[in-house]
Assembly symmetry: C2
């Protein structure tokens, strides 16, 4: 399962001592080929962690032999010394694999602004390399968790090939992803340029449409590696569909594990003049702390939906807006519609449908409620 479901991949997850508890914190994923084609999508935050800067460089070559990932420290805002640490990590992995550091991707997650304990980390690479196996995918997925309460893995069977993936992330799920790392693998034979096209498309409609707290991390990375070991060149459309399904599956797991959340809220925007308008409106609603509190309190406060829609530049007329919560159209034509008492907000899954009455386009953005537990987890994280 996970990243080792496709042929040609080995993985491991070990406890290197980066976390205070004796938990797994270092993962290694190795592509044994025959292909090493790879693509990556990274945070749009301009403050980028050292491993993001490094891995972006690696990906310009379109080839990745291995990915080393650590939790227990983001190696972000650590200056030139932090970049040297990432470089040394890649060199170490290259050394144990007898390969080139230029094809070693590095991902880190955890607290910003602190150096990694490099002695422990480099010893951990040795230990991970010794444990690499065809069934190491689950241990690798476990090793990249931070505040995640569960490991997140997914796989899909394509026509003659497999796609598998792992992800971590439980907060800061925001435009352009989250503090999230994800590695997706396939044994299909697909060149790097096509992997890049497919991954960008898949991420744009899955991870990019999670917006749990509007915060964009310094470390977000999604990688797609192809070993070609199945010897199959897939149909482009079918391949894109499978990769998108793996991303959507992982994104859903991130959403339901979001820090302190009790509700998974789908904001479905319909009747938009353009798809961009639908996404803009969905994001504005997803970021309304007031609305997120209301849903937490199981209060179908559609006025807060309209107030959020009104902050955008999307095409709409205020008196033509309709809003349904869990299927009840409680706002019609910009004013009160059906009886709000009919809305059942007890289920964990909540759907807010916003009809802009302005065109044929639509998009769905996913978020969570805002809870006292979110505040608690994020007040206490570094102390």
């Amino acid at each position: 399962m996970s990243v080792t479901a496709p042929l040609g991949f080995r993985a491991a997850g070990v406890a290197a001592g980066l976390k205070s508890k004796d938990a797994r914190d270092l993962a290694l994923v190795v592509n044994d080929g025959p292909s090493r084609a790879a693509a990556g999508v990274f945070t749009r935050n301009r403050v980028k962690a050292a491993p993001v800067l490094w891995t972006q460089q690696v990906l310009t070559g379109g080839r990745v032999r291995a990915v080393v990932l650590n939790s227990g420290g983001a190696n972000a805002c650590t200056g030139p010394a932090g970049f040297q640490d990432t470089h040394a990590t890649a060199e170490k992995v290259a050394g144990v694999l007898g390969d080139s550091a230029g094809e070693i991707a590095v991902c880190s997650t955890g607290l910003i602004g602190e150096r990694l304990p490099m002695d422990a980390l480099l010893l951990g690479v040795d230990s991970a390399a010794a444990q690499l196996s065809r069934d190491g995918g689950l241990a690798a997925a476990d090793a990249i968790r931070t505040t995640d309460t569960v490991t997140k893995i997914a796989f899909r069977r394509g026509e003659g090939y497999m796609a598998g993936g792992m992800a971590k992330g439980a907060g800061m799920l925001a435009p352009a992803m989250a503090t999230m790392l994800s590695v997706i693998t396939t044994d299909a034979d697909v060149p790097a340029a096509e992997l890049d096209r497919v991954l960008r498309k898949a991420v744009s409609v899955t991870f990019d449409r999670l917006d749990t707290d509007g915060c964009m991390s310094t470390n977000d990375t999604v990688l797609l590696l192809a070993s070609g070991a199945a010897g199959v060149v897939p149909d482009p459309a079918e391949f894109e569909k499978k990769i998108t399904e793996v991303c959507a599956d992982l994104a859903r797991q991130l959403l339901v594990d979001a820090e302190g959340a009790t509700k998974a809220i789908a904001i479905e925007v319909v009747g938009a003049a353009h798809e961009d308008d639908a996404v803009t409106v969905g994001r504005a609603v997803a970021r309304s702390n007031l609305l997120k509190c209301a849903i937490h309190g199981e209060d179908p406060n559609w006025g807060r939906v309209l107030a959020a829609v009104g902050t955008t530049d999307a095409v709409f007329e205020p008196d033509r807006l309709n809003v349904a919560i869990n299927g009840i159209w409680i706002c019609r034509g910009g004013a009160a519609g059906d009886d709000r008492a009919k809305v059942d907000l007890r289920p964990r899954d909540v759907t807010i449908t916003i009809d802009l009455s302005a065109g044929p386009h639509s998009a769905t953005v996913h978020t969570t409620d805002l809870t006292a537990e979110y505040v608690h987890e994020n007040s206490a994280y570094s102390t």
Copy 2:
């Protein structure tokens, strides 16, 4: 004090029965002249409440005889019937004053999407008119409270004239104000066009730089009325300074009364290439739920500051960013600086200084921490 500090104004605040509790909920402020010059600044939300649409029309004439304000209902998203209610309210006030409805401003605050109980409201206007007095400013300020825990009033003495004001607002303090209403009065003799210029300038550097939860209301209104009763034409620069001081005083009161907040956070952005960049960065940091939680937990998590700065398009280089919290430069050159243990976050007032190292401009945005109490208040508001 409050709106009746300047000559030429009478006010009242009464309990009309709009709120469930037997509290004041209707205020009337009357300008007895000789001038009726007035200006207004309104929410930039495209979903505007009926009283905002009405009062924007009134202000195109540059004259206001009276302002009627109610808490207990926002009259927003109430359709054409809601607009008729606002119109009827203005007509009623015009009737009791023997004046024209076209010079009666109306402001409402409270829950969105519900009609106002007009019978009670119109009776309340009679009662308020009967109680109008030169010392009614405090009762008026009390009547516009919603979740405000205190009344908010301010005044300043100018050169030969007075300026006074009242405000309400305790949440949704966001770009372009808040669910906030404010009426500012002066007995200086200033024409409407000059009042408009001064009010826009004053609001842009005071109310507009509060951003407690990023939510922009449907009802925000700030009005400035001049009676001319002091018979003094003030120096323009001195007048602008006094009005700005009244706005800043009221804005500060809004901030410290923000729902559930335990910290008043000033985000001071310096070294910006443009003032707009400084405001953009200040707002991005003010809206980081993660940072607001950290400050609540008294955790000087400068990494979350950098992560927020990195989401903007301001001019800066990540490795030249410096951040101080309460005077300790814990981030220098984009990496760890002075010892974070030196930061004392126990006081209520917190200053985060961000040096973009990109130019000579600066701006300060004010926000609060994010607390479990905020979640609680906003989960329970309408139920």
